[in-house]
Symmetry: C2
Subunit: 343 residues, 2 copies
Amino acid sequence: MGGAEFPARMSVTIDDVAAAAGVSIRTVSRVLNESPHVGDETRRAVLSIIERLGYSPSIRARALASGRSFLIAVVQDDPNAQVIGALQRGIVETCSRHGYELVVHPVRFNDPNVALDVEAFVRRSRVDGLIVLPPTSEIAAIPERLAKLGVPSVGLASVPVPAYPCMLVSAERAATFMVGQHFLALGHRRIAMIEGPAHFRSAQQRKAGFLEALSGPDLKIDLRPGDYGFESGLAAARSLLALADPPTAIFACNDIMAAAVIKVAGERGVEVPRRLSVVGFDDSDIASMVTPALTTIRRPLHEMATVATERLLTIIENPADLQPYQPIELSLIHRRSTGPAPR
Amino acid sequence: MGGAEFPARMSVTIDDVAAAAGVSIRTVSRVLNESPHVGDETRRAVLSIIERLGYSPSIRARALASGRSFLIAVVQDDPNAQVIGALQRGIVETCSRHGYELVVHPVRFNDPNVALDVEAFVRRSRVDGLIVLPPTSEIAAIPERLAKLGVPSVGLASVPVPAYPCMLVSAERAATFMVGQHFLALGHRRIAMIEGPAHFRSAQQRKAGFLEALSGPDLKIDLRPGDYGFESGLAAARSLLALADPPTAIFACNDIMAAAVIKVAGERGVEVPRRLSVVGFDDSDIASMVTPALTTIRRPLHEMATVATERLLTIIENPADLQPYQPIELSLIHRRSTGPAPR
DNA sequence: CTGAAAGCGCTTACAG
DNA sequence: CTGAAAGCGCTTACAG
């Protein structure tokens, strides 16, 4: 530490390389951009000069000249740091493989000006494209504005959102349908659900899929509101377990609320899974950390991140190859928190 | 979705603004950069044209011309998504307030080439500065290379790392000293600790501070290795609770391992805190989610992020004002997992 | 396969 | 207080 100085960086430019190699900068540029129209010998010579001089091209100059910034943005709210973290990692990996950097732009889902905010961000940052994570991806005004700006984007959501040139749609409805089936197969008849925020499309999908599976006679179904937070899970669980005829199976719309159910059950001496089965959603770290470990739904986050990024780069570099739609399958992870209904 | 096209963005340039306002681009530039040497009337006129045309300056052109990219990077490994998430949010907020964007660069602490990797990243991305998060910040080779490149950086760590022009040093040693004192004040004599990875300076600090507090006669101290992961916490807790003379207080070097202690205690019927006190570190979400909620150490992450970013921008824009060192105080958050030693 | 020239959209001394 | 000109370091048709 201390008063170090920060002089202008020594910068080797394309001119230096061209001079040293005895070619024009045009040729150096061609080597840099892997143009096929360069003689093998010339290429090798240029490459060795680049190596010797420790030259790396200025992304800024390249950006200005080519009209691209080689910057990708991820637009995110943060209901779940875990999910965001996993996605970010996957996106960055793919980005760097292709010579792009990742800029993060956090937003507030509930901010009425999100779309304007994102537009302003794109205008000033000049990113080449955006990946919009859920639940922000559900806000149709964002892709609409981006389309007008002519900036490519990929959305990740549980339902298609029309204005996106490309979407990854995770089959959350089908996943929670599996949860419902799982409960029925285990013989449960008194079943409850703790919902997510009603204005999230994903929460609606999770609810719809779950309820769709629960058809049949003498089924008692209780619903409780939740907001994906631990406290709301506690309240819902307390309300459910205080019923005269409490459920023997509870599906909470995320792992955090499911963990709250486990906690309340513990407090009341309700054994899981002997007297109560619990299922969560996300397969986040906490799912494995509670006792018993949670049966839950897993999204293939790394794969989603990779595919989303590749699609976005395709739109940017090769729009003709674009595939606009990619369904994502989710899976039910069986752990210790679910078991046969008590008799 | 569908085959939308992405035409070259309609771009209003500084020339358009200058023409419409009837001034030179030099003047527009001065208005943009808030130069004081512009007449009030001229400024207002230019501003209104900018507004009307929806002009926003190209950060790329500005970058090339000014020799700055207006890009800040955060270099991070991810032992803890929660911590990273909170810091990232704080950094981005401060960045956007000052007209910078945030680029994320994940690395691997254990990669022997991290420093080289970071150097390559800086060379190609041309970021104006970097914020290096723990534990990556402990790797001295990184700030050394950055100093050679002449790129400003700020490190966040539990100990000073000399090559950083500015460091935020969180008083982890003092914090865990408080944990030790807390245990003694509660009357505990058989005390254990689950360590973090031995090659992390932060883990060394946490251990040193804790042990420093534990001086006194008839104290029995047990140490167990851990790697900040849940599994390692389980193993350590099982080993400790299986002792003939088990500890009545356990300090785990992070909340995740502390949660593992709570879990093992639950399995063995060891009541917390009546028979066992447990303390974690981080005050992450899980600290409030386990039962009983964890007494733990909190780092002021948002404040750390803000201060780190402001310091970095100071080095970039106004190096003379740099303050090279900023200590960060941590606090002990009292919850239900600690209580008087059983007699 | 290779080169000279223009241009991307700004900022910056230098003048006036 | 304001302007004409050069330059930042690349890429890109256009020629040859």
